[in-house]
Symmetry: C2
Subunit: 448 residues, 2 copies
């Protein structure tokens, strides 16, 4: 009877546990979770903070009890894995002040990512908050309750989504992003500016290209954000400058970091350390366009990586994770932002020659009421292969445009392939020339 220990009860860990159980009814499976919730959805935190989602506990798909009962997986919550011994094949877990040792034949490290905390003066002041787990929601809500001005440091996904949440709560929001644009890892400047305009329109005091250099306090709490350009009074700060892999335990287990700084794994989610797997935000992935290692920590791939790791842990190389193409979605109020593949900046960094098209279109037939504007940017390489797509539009259907493009990108479609793709039409759902097809046509430079 194989003993599987999984460190982490989030997307990757829980998927790994469920898959291992499915493939091996006899395995002894223990899942160790540092917080109180498993199968939790950190992506829902901004909506639980804003109150759009009434109960933060609904961000948990299964309770630990359900998981134990329905899947016969032992779940240790509020249990901090503090050490791994790869020779003795043990994990040391501290729970309720007591330490215990778990024995494993297969170890799956699914410890996720944690917020980056930049080393700048005052960063440890009370009132500076980070966003990581649904467990954090009650604290975030109570900390923010009496704040009237909140500074957000970082214009990535969390920064943008928390800005919506805070406006929703009636706060004044000042957002600082060191780079020249919002969502710098996802969008090029031209597309990002559409989001910036929307944020300004909704009242966000946006400071792009402005580096935070210090936090100042008053009465023992944060009271101001200081940048290269000025000082801004705030009541609270959301620190959302990025995340990093929470790789300590993986390293203790004998895994290595890859070139991206996340745990190196092969397509079986094996770390190279005997019988040690890593999955989810802690692990590197392969980018299917470039074949290179990337670190893009997102829930959908975490789930699938967990599934691969869990299956392989009990059955040995039954599944392979093929990698990602960098599909990601966010929204700011009614503006949906989605992307897949490579951005212009990414292509440039890799020295890939590309051509691009940027169009503005509509989400429905021009005569049908309720259409929304949509901006589409599409990149292709010199052979015509689609490299990436960025989409922004005031209708949630545009999130799916990135999905259509993602399938095209990961399956090597060319501009011509996408132009001739049999995308559906009726006036209430799309224009007869779908925005993606129009973008492909423009990108063809007169060939289509």
């Amino acid at each position: 009877m194989v003993r599987v220990v999984i460190i982490g009860g989030g997307a990757a860990g829980a998927s790994a546990a469920a898959r291992a159980r499915r493939l091996d009814p006899n395995a002894e499976i223990v899942m160790v979770e540092a917080g109180s919730m498993i199968t939790h959805a950190p992506c829902g935190i901004p909506y639980a903070v804003s109150g759009v989602v009434a109960d933060y506990k609904s961000l948990m798909t299964y309770t630990p009890e359900e998981f134990e009962k329905e899947r016969n997986i032992k779940v240790l919550i509020n249990a901090k894995a503090v050490d791994v011994d790869p020779d003795k094949r043990t994990v040391t877990v501290v729970r309720g002040g007591r330490s215990e040792t778990l024995q494993w034949d297969k170890l799956i490290v699914a410890t996720g990512a944690k917020p980056l905390v930049p080393k700048i003066p005052g960063v440890d002041l009370p009132g500076i908050l980070t966003v990581r787990l649904p467990d954090d929601v009650p604290l975030l809500k109570s900390e923010l309750a009496d704040a009237s001005t909140v500074g957000i440091v970082g214009g990535g996904y969390i920064g943008v989504e928390m800005a919506e949440a805070l406006l929703h709560l009636g706060k004044k929001v000042i957002l600082f992003e060191m780079m020249d644009r919002l969502l710098p890892a996802a969008l090029d400047a031209d597309m990002s500016s559409v989001l910036a305009e929307e944020m300004k329109k909704r009242g966000v005091d946006l400071h792009l290209g402005e580096k935070v250099v210090e936090f100042r306090g008053f009465g023992g709490k944060v009271s101001a954000v200081v940048t290269e350009k000025g000082e801004y009074k705030v009541d609270k700060v959301i620190l959302a400058v990025g995340v990093k892999p929470d790789a300590d335990l993986a390293l203790k287990a004998g895994a290595k970091l890859g070139e991206t700084g996340a745990v190196a794994v092969n397509e079986y989610m094996e770390t190279g350390a005997p019988d040690v797997y890593a999955a989810g935000d802690v692990a590197e992935k392969v980018h299917r366009v470039t074949g290179r290692k990337v670190w893009i920590p997102l829930a959908p791939s975490a789930n699938k990586e967990g599934q691969v790791a869990g299956g392989n842990a009990v059955k040995g190389r039954v599944l392979r994770f093929p990698g990602v193409v960098g599909t990601a979605v966010t929204k700011f109020f009614d503006l949906y932002v989605a992307r897949t593949g490579l951005s212009e900046e990414e292509a440039q960094k890799l020295g890939i020659k590309y051509d691009k098209a940027v169009i503005k279109a509509r989400t429905k037939a021009q005569y049908y009421p309720g259409y929304a504007p949509v901006h589409v940017k599409m990149l292709a390489d010199q052979s015509g292969r689609i490299l990436g797509v960025q989409v922004l539009g005031w209708d949630h259907i545009v999130a799916a445009y990135a999905d259509i493009a993602a399938v095209a990108v990961e399956r090597g479609a060319t501009i011509e392939d996408l132009f001739f793709a049999d995308i559906g039409y009726m006036p209430a759902t799309a224009p007869v020339w779908h925005p993606l097809i129009v973008a492909a046509r423009v990108l063809s430079r007169g060939k289509l």
Copy 2:
């Protein structure tokens, strides 16, 4: 200077004209349209009848004057092409009671489809209406104005969409479909029943598996629909039993009908008759899953076929139309129905062995407000290749699920490919396990 005559000013004809002009600034291009509108959108008719679209003239993208002025294409409207002489290379056109002869070097037949009118007693009675062109909207509106009960004969796209329009106008609607289900060419019985339930819930008096055998009149107008099972009093009838290719002129030009009854064309949209092309609803297409000829008359492929025909007419085999996978979308109020690839019935008819999964899921994270239920059916062949997907859900985003699946189907994706597709996620746009990925997982029968 090449002389191009295009018969038909709809999707295919207008695209052909625009493309020919783009590739050959010097060509003499004449487009002959029987009605008063070009670049018109018949798919918008139900919404113009219901009043959702206020002005039926907005169903026209370009006016004939705009087309003439901006593209230098001669447009003859209200001009009926009545004959083609393939030896003399002429088209005879009747306009305003006068006949004229156009000379062509290249002929593009884009005459579209026309409603089938079954040969049953009383079918010629006044008050029995068909739906074909935006030009028909004023007549449809005035004919329907004083009707309180309308019989719809046919449960295809037009029947379903007109049912919505008529309910919108406060009419009582009785819908008759000979087959055992709605949208029989698009959906299998299990998925179609979801639509049937919705139609009944909205008040449609639905008669499935009930063949209309006669129309009876009173005072010289239709007053009853007679089926095998009963007689139903109606004030008007919408006859929507299907369409057929309007192929007479193509045949006169020397084209042949293919096995489907539509005009046979190759991938260049050549009919085989010298310098005669056909495009759009009049022409057959290749189904990219089966490689067989099909006749699926829809606007998106008509546009692209027109573009291929127009380009090739002036430049010779510069473009190829790769065919379709049968993607189609409709809606009934808030229930969106989309499909791509093969249905179970289609697979059975072709003797293709398949496996299937039918799931019910949600369009957003389970904790995010405003999610809608969605039903997904997915078919794969014995090698695991995805054959087709049917989707019904109460959110227009599900239309795009069929698009995602369409790209997967036409690019030969397997169940595993789709499971690992990098489809995006955020709680407001999709669940973390996207319904298509869940369907693929279920279809894998435990492998994923």
